[in-house]
Symmetry: C2
């Protein structure tokens, strides 16, 4: 790929000047088009060390108002960043709608550096490529424009530039170990770059190789690609996206109406005895989890008044508060709504060895957002697979992921609603919205059935907790958590 | 202090049980009172290693709905955290209005650990105590309830607990170097703790020493202090707070009406020549800044259409985009409004060696918020000192802080407004709000004069940029930045 001809040929000085002027003006105009159409734009600048990635970004942003862009600089992940899935810090850097985000290096550099240093095996590499392909497709499917630029220079040019930087005390620090290694093993690195570029050269987010032998010419190529990309994206902005079929093995799951509650209850004594034993076990497992640095994620969904809160409480009681966090999820705040729907979950993931409990989850996309029309049909239909892919990332990372649907029947809900309404201390728990949602029980049931069928992958199946007797549901939840942890930690 | 009697005497078993039940219920009720009155609550749990801080927090939060609290666990700052001012990570952890935040250790531990290891000199210690006292007073003045608990155990109890933890493989990792050091040098540590507790025992945020010899008794004491604190805070919630007088040396500054524009202009040639020379210099200085790890913060305020954007652009052009960020500041988002008004600036501070340019700043508090009534009179009157204290933190940290007021006269503004209105490409820059603000020119002028007089401390004076000729203002800004950096980096 790097050996192929560049997309455009270097013009003479006069032409270069004229085209550069035109492209700069175009970008200046495009910033308001981006804003008005709420297009989020990610520009990834990768390339050889000393190819001038920083300078290129500097030149581009000079044409844009600071209100419309941000620059993220990625180097090797810090020890703390390494405790999260690779993609987390890149998700965090996603731009809001209507804004541009420039990434000075990014996931390509992280992966190819690891390859060059021999830290990433072939199998790990393939896994990472899968992640990246899904990640970028997830972005473009969700309306992001992803522009990927690779600044290319020859070994000779790189050598000269390194020398020039090293000769000045104020720029010497800029030459990294990595730059030196690249120049020393230029050919080998070329191969690794080439393979990555080919592996991730996708129709919705293709690579552009820039001839980075001179500053202004590099800028012109980058601006032309960026402006073209914006044009195309704005034309396609309202188009629906193909729904990718799930490719992960699914578990067969029952429909909600097949669930019965008979016999699913406990006496107070049974409950107390089991509770104490299970909480003790979970306490011990939490210590081992911490020591072995395994992350645990527990996701709760369920009918209003099904008893999610009390269920979570019984899990949390057994955990060391230094090692867990409960995330109550309600409707997204403006800065969350302006980003990919999974952004607010990626940014809330636990460190390895820690526990995150989500009280409502990313499944809002295929329930409330579907039913209330907060996203398009195309959006929620795509979401089943996007969610499976998200959970696959968690699985690959090594997380134990447990998903609970806390289940009751319609009569039980009414009883509990009335109880809440009639008990002063409980009244804050019941809102008009709860009553409105109740009226939509049947459409919710359909959505829940779809969700459970389509997202019960082998690595992250749903567990249905029968919760007409809350005690029974709590013990079941504890049993499942203990069982899953024992499986992993044995 | 640690030797003094505890606030309450340990009751017998029956009494303990009864009082605990009562206090738990009280906290359960208080969570809704906190929410309804939008009181933000910070509970800091400090104490000896193995005193049971984590367990205590775990027991307390069992009485609260996860929607209403979060737990932050602080250990030694990471290398990355060390590149920011000490208080940054604590500011980041501030709770939203109506919520509780529990801090498992915090700034006390950070400081006393440093003292125990001999890493903090007497002078640094005094500086840090000043910071902490201002920090906590700033919180309580802004309506936060700050409850500070210290869990106390004797050397013998600590020794026993360490041994017990060490004897089990699953809990061995919990015993830190720090715990062992404390137990070895218990007396010396006692002195350091005592001094810190006395130095920071303030009427608005006093310390409570808990007898942490047994779990339930510790919980009871903590709950009693917390519930009392909530009661007091809710009673005082709407009270105004005394305005603390500024104690930092101020620079004498002119009033806006004394500023003249005569002769403050440049020809195109003068401008171009100076611009090139100054940008080259600034580029070099940015490299040195990076190498020497000095943070630079440039704060822009000014009349609408005074030319802030273009001015910032000329500074930014000279900087390496890997090392700077422009923060355009508009009205706060809901999650920002729900916190201390300085929160969104603390969280946007640059790393050391990096540059942050603020396009509008924390001075909104004493301008738009004052004039539009977005905060109380008491709030904005207190803010001058709060801002000086904030900037003092930046100064102590080692930042170069440069504040610009970009100044024009009223006629020039009208000209530029009309030009924007009449030029299609510029029209997005002018809004109805700009016209409305223009009508309030005189009250703004008064607010700006107050601001410049009251916040031109020796360590962070205002620079007024005469910007009727924008070229002149840009060159002046560059000159001032270059000058300030040369002073620091020489």
């Amino acid at each position: 790929m790097l050996k192929n001809a560049y997309l455009s040929e270097k013009p003479d000085k006069e032409q270069l000047k004229a085209r550069l002027k035109e492209q700069r003006l175009l970008l200046f105009k495009n910033q308001t088009r981006i804003r008005d159409s709420k297009l989020p734009v990610i520009v990834i600048v990768e390339g050889w060390g000393t190819a001038g990635k920083g300078t290129l970004i500097g030149n581009i942003i000079n044409n844009i108002d600071p209100r419309f862009y941000k620059v993220s600089n990625f180097s090797d992940p810090t020890p703390d960043e390494k405790r999260y899935p690779m993609l987390k810090r890149y998700y965090e850097a996603l731009p809001e709608q209507g804004k541009l985000r420039f990434c000075n290096s990014g996931w390509m550099s992280e992966i190819t550096r690891g390859r060059i240093r021999g830290e990433i095996s072939d199998k790990e590499y393939e896994e990472k490529i899968d992640s990246i392909r899904r990640f970028e497709r997830g972005l473009t499917d969700n309306g992001y424009l992803v522009v990927k630029l690779f600044a290319h220079i020859s070994a000779e040019v790189q050598k000269k530039r390194i020398k020039k930087l090293q000769d000045d005390i104020d720029t010497k620090w800029r030459v990294s170990e990595n730059d030196l290694r690249q120049n020393k093993d230029y050919k080998e690195c070329s191969k690794i770059f080439d393979k990555y570029l080919e592996d991730t050269n996708m129709p919705s987010s293709p690579w552009y190789i820039l001839d980075a032998s001179s500053e202004k010419w590099t800028e012109l190529q980058a601006l032309e690609r960026l402006n073209e990309g914006i044009d195309t994206a704005l034309q396609n902005h309202s188009l629906a996206v193909p729904i990718i079929q799930n490719t992960f093995p699914l578990k067969k799951m029952p429909k909600l109406k097949e669930i019965t509650f008979e016999g699913k209850e406990l006496t107070d004594e049974e409950y107390k005895e089991k509770l104490d034993a299970l909480q003790d076990k979970l306490s011990d497992l939490h210590n081992r989890l911490y020591r072995k640095r395994v992350p645990l994620i527990i996701a709760y969904e369920g009918w209003d008044a099904a008893g999610k809160g009390g269920n979570i409480k019984r899990i949390a009681e057994a955990l060391d508060p230094r090692g867990y966090e409960v995330h109550p999820i309600s409707s997204p705040e403006p800065h969350e709504k302006a980003r990919h729907f999974l952004w607010r979950f990626w940014t809330r993931l636990p460190k390895d060895g820690h526990v995150a409990i989500f009280d409502r989850t990313w499944y809002g996309r295929v329930m409330v957002e579907r039913i209330e029309g907060f996203c398009t049909e195309n959006d929620w239909k795509r979401a089943y697979n996007e969610i499976n892919e998200f959970e696959k990332e968690l699985d690959t990372w090594g997380a134990v992921l447990i998903k609970f649907w806390v289940h009751i029947d319609k009569d039980t809900q009414l009883e509990r609603f009335n109880d809440r309404q009639n008990t002063p201390e409980k009244r804050w728990k019941i809102t008009d919205e709860d009553w409105r949602n109740r009226e939509k029980w049947d459409v919710y049931e359909e959505a829940v059935n779809d969700m459970i069928q389509k997202t019960s992958t082998r690595f992250a199946p749903w567990h249905i907790l029968e919760s007409v007797d809350k005690k029974y549901a709590r013990i079941r939840a504890l049993e499942i958590v203990v069982e899953e942890l024992e499986k992993r930690l044995k």
